[in-house]
Structure formats: structure tokens, C-alpha cells
Symmetry: C2
Subunit: 210 residues, 2 copies
DNA sequence: GTCTATAGACGGATAGAC
DNA sequence: GTCTATCCGTCTATAGAC
């Protein structure tokens, strides 16, 4: 249905809406993105080893061989999922320095991160699972990106404390507690769903927390 | 065949240290427990599908076939790990009602659960991973044991609130927040280790929290 | 109870026609 | 870029000697 339609369309309509090279690049782009999204879902449900390339390909509606055409190995695909996830996470992380008021900055960060966890629930599970099992496939990301970021945040927090804007708590501890509580709602979705009927009281919970 | 062996042993050594039936049961017991412990470790590190029976057997210092002699299937072994874990968890959970004072009861529970998470770090990871991936292998435990337990706890908390011993927060929310923060230190050990050099500030963190 | 050898299924990856 | 057929390795589980 894919390539035949494209060439047939050009010949029959006597117009070439998009240059071929552009179109081919577009195909690679969309198929790659689609596979990436399906991979994220399957990895979230079954874990790295629990997920098979056949499952991911099937969900994407493609033969297994196509997956290997776009991503050389299963592990490469998994890494791309993690990287993609980190990009989003990092974007959100920067909202931390939007305000000079601790309550507002932390509150805004928590809310945004919560939003992201709800928005990218599947990805958040992949991330969490990876961390739990030792983060062996993302030591690079962790060391090169998250660690420096955390250190700058700690400086900001310590500055707030020094200026008397915040109670004297350990800055790193504070960050971990924020992570713990925000991440929890995403990661432990299954437990929460199983035990409670409804959800969506998170907003209130974190207003209380802050 | 049992009697032949028994008599032979007695005849050679001229002593019968332990009745044979007792000894055979003992072997089964210790080997089973040893395999269970090794399984918990490997499942924690690699996940259900990432772990292989060969790895578990090797860590236990036994041939793979022996593992299947004690546990019929890999999944049966995994389930036993979860059940074993839940037993410990449930024991700790009961400390919640040891005191009639909210602060003391909750504080004691948090401390005990933290202790358990640190003590059974591996098991805690297995549990967390299982939950993240949909808790498909422990719906029974979750529905039959955890849910009723949680409901009784909610009653206790609401009672405290009614008597003015506790601020009027949603009882279920409170329980989730306790879970979130305590569990986090166990589950996200890798992240914490990677980002911080030291650990063991948990005590202070949770004193602050409470 | 222990252990070697192996059956049988499945998974990742590739060849090669279209 | 797409897809079928297939190789080869690994995994669970078992058979059967000791």
C-alpha cells in the first residue's frame, strides 16, 4: 500500500507534490517515529527482555525485518527510546529556574513533571524499570547529563537557603523527595489502579506536599 | 529404597545422627531456600524475562536441572519469590496498629518499612518491577491481601482525623505518599548511587517528612 | 537427590527477491 | 523501502544414567 500508491499517484495525477528524495526521507522519519512509539509501549509493558522485536513490529503493523532496517539492533532501539525520553525530561527540568521564588519554582517544577509523567506514562515506566535494574543501558546519559544538571540545581537551592527563602534542608535530599513523589504516581500506576477505583487526586496531594 | 539406604548408613557409621526422613526433608528445605534467595537476586538484577534459570542455578552452584527438580517452572519460582516477599511486607505492615498515636504509629511504620526495604533491597526491586509492568503475576496477592489491608488502615486513619489527632488529609493519599517515599529509596537505588556518592541520609529525610 | 545431554520452542538478526 | 524465508543462538524443560 505504501510505495505503489506513491508512484502511482505521481504518474496518474501528473503532479509531483513533494520531491522524491524529500518524500523518502519523510517515510524514514515517520516510520522511525512510529516504531519508536510502539517500542516505548511494548518496553513499558514487558520490559527490555520481555519485549520481542516481533511484538514491536506487529504493533507497528510492519514485518520484523523492517524494524531491523530502521534500527540495527533491539538494544539500539531501546537506547533511542531512553534518549528520546530524556530529551523531554530535560526540557521540563529547565522550568525549575523559571522563578526566583522557591515555592513557585519547586511547585511549578513538580506540576510540570507530574504533567509529563501523566503525558508520557509509558515512557516513564521504561525509565523507571531501567533504573531499577541498575541503569546499565544509560550510564552515559545519567553521568553526562543528569548529574551535572542536579549539581546546578543544588547550587540554586543552597542559595535560597542562604538567603533565608527556604528552610535549611539538604538540597539533594529535597530533589530526591520531589523525584520520589512525582515519579511514583507514574511508575506505580498499576498498584494505584488496583487499589483505588479512581485516580486524579494527585493535584491535591502535591499541593499538600508542597 | 529408603530403608536400604538408612540401614546401610547406620551399619557403616554405627551412628544415626539424624533420622533419614528428617534429613531428606532438611536437604529439600535448605536447597529450596537457597535457590529462592538466588532467584530473588537474579530477578532483581535482570527482571523476569532477563533472568534465565541457568543464571539462577549457576549462582546457586547447582545444575540447571536441580532447579527444575525443586521448582517445576521458572514462573512458579518467580511467584514463590513474590509470595515470600509479601509475607515479610505483611509482617511489617502490622506494626502500623501498634500505637494509638498517629505520629508514633506512622513514624514507626515508615521506619520499619524503610528498614525492610534496605534489608530486602533485592526483593523490593523485584516487587517494584513487577508492579511497574502491570502486576500481571500477582493480581491475586494484590486483590486478596493488600487491598483489604489498605482498607482497614484507611479506617484507622479516618478515625484519627475524626478525633482531631491528625490533620484532615485524604487517608488513601497519605498511605500512597508513605509508600512512595519509603519505596523510592529501595527501588531507585541505582539512580541514587549514580548521582550521590554516599547514602544513608534517609533517616534524616524521613524525620523531616514526618 | 544429582547431573549430563538433549529435545523443542522462540528470539534476534540477515539474505535476497521484489 | 518492503517482505518472506531462514540461520543460528539461547532458553525452558525433560529424559534418563548414576
Amino acid at each position: 500500500m505504501r510505495d505503489d500508491e506513491a508512484t502511482a499517484e505521481v504518474a496518474k495525477n501528473d503532479v509531483a507534490p513533494v520531491p522524491l528524495r524529500r518524500r523518502k526521507a519523510h517515510i524514514r522519519e515517520t516510520n522511525g517515529a512510529h516504531l519508536l512509539a510502539c517500542a516505548e509501549a511494548v518496553f513499558a509493558e514487558r520490559g527490555l527482555e520481555g519485549a520481542s522485536t516481533a511484538m514491536i513490529a506487529e504493533r507497528a503493523g510492519l514485518p520484523k525485518a523492517n524494524l531491523h532496517y530502521y534500527f540495527p539492533t533491539k538494544l539500539a532501539l531501546y537506547r533511542r527510546v531512553l534518549e528520546d525520553l530524556f530529551e523531554d525530561w530535560h526540557r521540563v527540568a529547565d522550568t525549575f529556574e523559571s522563578s526566583d521564588d522557591p515555592v513557585e519554582a519547586i511547585g511549578g517544577y513538580v506540576r510540570t513533571k507530574m504533567e509529563l509523567s501523566r503525558l508520557r506514562l509509558l515512557g516513564s515506566k521504561v525509565w523507571a524499570s531501567e533504573i531499577i535494574h541498575g541503569a546499565v543501558h544509560m550510564q552515559d546519559i545519567l553521568n553526562e547529563h543528569v548529574k551535572p544538571w542536579l549539581e546546578t540545581r543544588v547550587i540554586v537551592i543552597d542559595n535560597w537557603i542562604a538567603r533565608g527563602l527556604l528552610a535549611p534542608v539538604d538540597a539533594q535530599t529535597l530533589m530526591f523527595m520531589i523525584w520520589a513523589t512525582t515519579q511514583h504516581y507514574a511508575d506505580f500506576d498499576a498498584r494505584i489502579r488496583a487499589l483505588k477505583g479512581k485516580r486524579a487526586l494527585s493535584q491535591k496531594a502535591f499541593d499538600t506536599f508542597t
